[in-house]
Amino acid sequence: MLGRRGSWKLRVGLTICAVFAVVAVLAPFLVHHPNRSGPDGLQPPSLHHLFGTTDIGQDVFKQVLAGTTGSVTIGVVAGALTVALSMLFGVGGAFLGGLWDDAGSLLSNVFLVLPGLPLLIIVTDYVDSRSVLVIALVIAIVSWAGAARVLRSQTLSVRSRDYVDAARVAGESRWRLMLREILPNLMPIIASQFVFGALGAILAEAGLSFLGLGAANGASWGSILFFAQNAQAITLGAWWWFVPPGLCIAILGAALGLINFSIDERINPRLRAAAQAPRRGGKR
């Protein structure tokens, strides 16, 4: 199925994400003390300091590398948690029905109408520990509801397909129905929700950090931006301080977006290219 039109998006997206992932994993071993200050404040990029230095002489390149670890971790953890929660309430609700479904729907509806950003700000302000994992958890809790709703309706739609009924008539157990007949056909959506959740979390964390509510001690791209803003990097003309982390966010965001697009493209024509044809450009 590869090699179709549009798969360049997937390839580019995956490559960029892979690069960031590698950096995120290796950074803790390569960079020690990213926040150690040095004698040369506000130096523009040079061979010695690839991305220049901050006002107190910290190496921006090292900070960005270290920040990659933080931001990517937040993305992955929050994405995974979003998927886990939305599967629990969305897929679980649709499949088990009854009380569980009602409770799940109610809960996700409540979370849906709660305004996300203010809630995030309040909760992060409230929790004491500002570790990367806690931030990711908070972001996931605030943002799983939409995904759960989508997943629930998709599960219902897949569950009502004839082939699920056919598998039931063949004698499959509930668990197997769920794991072999329904879940695989939800995989593209789940993958896309993971990607979307990760993207949202990275952006949300950048926003939080920028407001000073992010992970402690500059462990993410957002917090670099926060310190840059505090030191008035823009008025000082220290572009090297905020452009690299900003670009990183934009590039990783775009890459995740590309992956999401290509998954979407794949969900629709999925084995039913012909059947979908009259609905080209239609809604789905």
């Binding site: 739609s157 009502s160 059947a275 239609g282």
Partner: protein, 286 residues
């Protein structure tokens, strides 16, 4: 016969899988404006593949390895269908040519109502109809295929198989194309409804002058409604001719076999269950 509207010339299509399948093998067909061309043949012989090729809906691993398809509406310059791209292709499909898929029962979007799916066709193709006009047309189309307008607000799973098939026929008629490709459109319809719809299509055809490529296994029906008929067997078009001629003087073994196998409703049962063995590929050097 007038100049053909659609001419398929020596078309060959292969599925490039581990062991390539030649689904359409040097097939040539011409369809004149306003004509009904019937296509029958063994299950799996490539009829749907041919239909997909004509509507340019083939997806990899299918590949057109040879031949041409030309489209010549009322004396205009011939259009190379296989060369169409992007916008041209979009305009060509559905407003010039439309299709009822074999899997039509399964082709409706499960999360939208029948009404929105019919109206979408007008929206997607900038028909310039107002909202009320679209509604009226949607109702009119459903009436054409004999479905109660109260089903406009139904979702596909609330309709029976035959009703879903009829909705797809209605959608194919929506934009009044010049050619409608119908791939086994009536498998889930009882004969009464089937006949009503075919009469209706025939009436619309004489009014609007569109042509139909009709694929079915129901040979009796095919011979009755078609002007000309083609018979396919493992990718090849083994015979084509007027309905009369196919019915009275079938030339190919397989055509004779099909006609012989047809059970008569009020007559006797023919000798049943004999498998037709296609000997031609062995004889031909491949």
């Amino acid at each position: 016969m007038s100049a053909p509207l659609l001419s398929i010339d020596d078309l060959t299509v292969e599925y490039r899988t581990a062991r390539p399948v030649r689904a359409v093998d040097h097939v040539s067909i011409e369809i004149a404006p306003g004509e009904i061309f019937g296509l029958a043949g063994e299950s799996g012989c490539g009829k749907s593949t041919l239909a997909y090729a004509v509507t340019r809906l083939l997806q990899p691993p299918a590949e057109i390895v040879g031949g041409a398809i030309r489209w010549t509406p009322d004396g205009a310059d011939p259009l190379d269908v296989l060369g169409l791209d992007g916008r041209e292709l979009r305009a060509f499909r559905w407003s010039e040519i439309s299709m009822v898929f074999q899997g039509a029962m399964n082709a409706l979007n499960p999360v939208h109502t029948v009404r929105s799916q019919i109206e979408d066709v007008f929206v997607d193709h900038r028909s310039g109809l107002s909202r009320t006009e679209r509604r009226a047309r949607a109702e009119e189309l459903l009436a054409t295929v004999g479905i109660d307008p109260r089903h406009l607000t139904s979702y596909p799973h609330e309709l029976s198989g035959g009703m879903r098939q009829r909705v797809m026929i209605a959608i194919a008629l929506a934009l009044r194309p010049r050619l409608i490709v119908m791939d086994e459109p009536t498998t889930a319809l009882d004969v009464v409804v089937q006949r009503t719809i075919l009469d209706e299509i025939d009436r619309l055809r004489s009014e609007l002058g569109f042509a139909v490529l009709f694929i079915t296994h129901d040979l009796g029906l095919l011979l009755e409604i078609s002007d000309r008929v083609g018979i396919m067997l493992s990718g090849r078009l083994v015979e084509q001719g007027s309905s009369r001629q196919i019915q009275d003087a079938p030339r190919h073994d397989y055509t004779q076999h099909l006609l012989r196998s047809f059970p008569s409703l009020r007559g006797d049962m023919p000798a049943t269950g004999t498998r037709y063995v296609d000997r031609e590929p062995e004889r031909r050097p491949s």
